[in-house]
Symmetry: C2
Subunit: 270 residues, 2 copies
């Protein structure tokens, strides 16, 4: 979802200019953004000293499997090129961390905005997860531990909570690996239920980047790989199309009043 | 997810008997459950006087579109065969409402369990939704209003929140229409972003029931049908297969300790 927030203006292709909203963001800014390399994107994404709470850090709710695999992967960040991605309360915070040009900043809003996968802030009750990304391999590993607020069948994670976790991991990966913008398709085959409180390991690969789309795959399984929870494939649009990034790019206020005026297209082919 | 909760014992097909867990639920009970008609299932699902809070009722956060369409559909419950489904905090509450045989009851647990789509209880911040079901047409309409805790791109609902809403609507519909058990596949094509605070109308149809599966489709769009947010197809397994409902059906405690011992299969073909 980061690249979604990061490219919000690009996605906010309006069919009309919203009232009271300044027209900003010449195409030049977006172009320079898209010119960044993966390494540069990762560096900017992982800026330290943002003053923001990183929710992708161990806490007392993490199960032993989650904790030990986290430390194992942390070791690999020192030697094997893996990068641990920070995870803030909102994509708005990620945008802030990226120090985007002023024109891309999201207007202030009094509401308590949260990225969906950080909607529950009580440790262990909702989503516990951390994503590690490998820039040169263009793959990610997401450690996901669903809490009791993510329940579907009693004692097990709701399929939708796993779908959202996969979408979020695709999003971050697609942005950093290929500057993907938005998820346009997601196809999931569920195999086994994930017990609440246990670890699911999501291995995400960028299969190819073609026709302005990032093609991705994911397999979610137990740490010992003996149980496959689900398999998933997805596509993300890669760069601003005429529909996604029109000559006149407009910003929007996020007030309720205008909510229904703003319906950006995800898929240029739609 | 209801039919998930309702049929939890059927789904909890274990490869081994869990320690300390009584062996209960002869096949007869499941068979009689599956022998129920849609009308009977709906009647039991919609039992009043449960003493449980129904979250699928209007509150001050609902936007005018959501509110007016809710009232329009409520009118159709009186004249056109539509049924408004209640929505409790947890599928455990739905099981309670269904007055299942004692053996099917979920063991008590001190944790605050919540169905994922009711994980946020502050009005307007998370999921606001209500599902109407039509027993003879075997279709549902879900009114969905994402709040600011469901954000992806700034100002818009996370794709994963819509995926979960679709999965949940599929689940309830599949159970009531065809006694579907578990989602085994979900394929979503995203078209446009849903502005936070606005209404998305999900129209769900049961396409066919074949080969022990319920085949479903969903289109999510604006009330005026001018904007398609996403299209989705999904499959739910229909009845206990030898893998889903073995001769020895076991119950499980939902304690963390045993979480990783219990990995029921969703798909008998997996």
């Amino acid at each position: 979802m980061l690249r979604r927030g990061f490219q919000v203006a690009g996605r906010l292709s309006q069919h009309r200019v919203l009232p009271g909203v300044p027209q900003v963001l010449p195409r030049l800014i977006l172009t320079s953004t898209f010119g960044s390399s993966t390494d540069s994107l990762v560096s900017r994404f992982c800026l330290e000293k943002t003053g923001l709470k990183d929710y992708a850090l161990p806490n007392a709710s993490w199960c032993p499997d989650m904790l030990s695999l986290y430390h194992e992967l942390q070791e690999k960040t020192k030697t094997d090129g893996w990068v641990k991605l920070p995870s803030f309360k909102s994509n708005r915070d990620h945008i802030q961390g990226l120090k985007l040009p002023l024109g891309l900043a999201v207007p202030s809003d009094e509401r308590d905005w949260r990225i969906f996968t950080r909607c529950i802030q009580v440790e262990g009750q909702g989503y516990e997860y951390v994503i590690f990304f490998h820039p040169s391999k263009k793959k990610s590993i997401c450690l996901f531990q669903p809490g009791p607020y993510l329940e579907g069948a009693p004692g097990f994670a709701h399929g939708g909570s796993l779908a959202a976790m996969m979408d979020e991991t695709f999003s971050k990966t697609a942005y950093l690996a290929g500057q993907g913008l938005l998820t346009v398709s997601l196809s999931i085959r569920f195999k086994h239920l994930i017990p609440v409180g246990s670890l699911a390991v999501l291995n995400v690969d960028v299969e190819k980047i073609e026709d302005q789309k990032v093609y991705m795959s994911c397999i979610a399984q137990s740490r010992d790989q003996q149980t496959v929870y689900a398999k998933c494939s997805g596509k993300e649009v890669l760069s601003p199309s005429p529909r996604l990034c029109p000559a006149t790019i407009t910003h929007r206020t996020n007030g309720r009043k205008n909510a229904e005026d703003a319906v950006p297209s995800r898929d240029p082919a739609s």
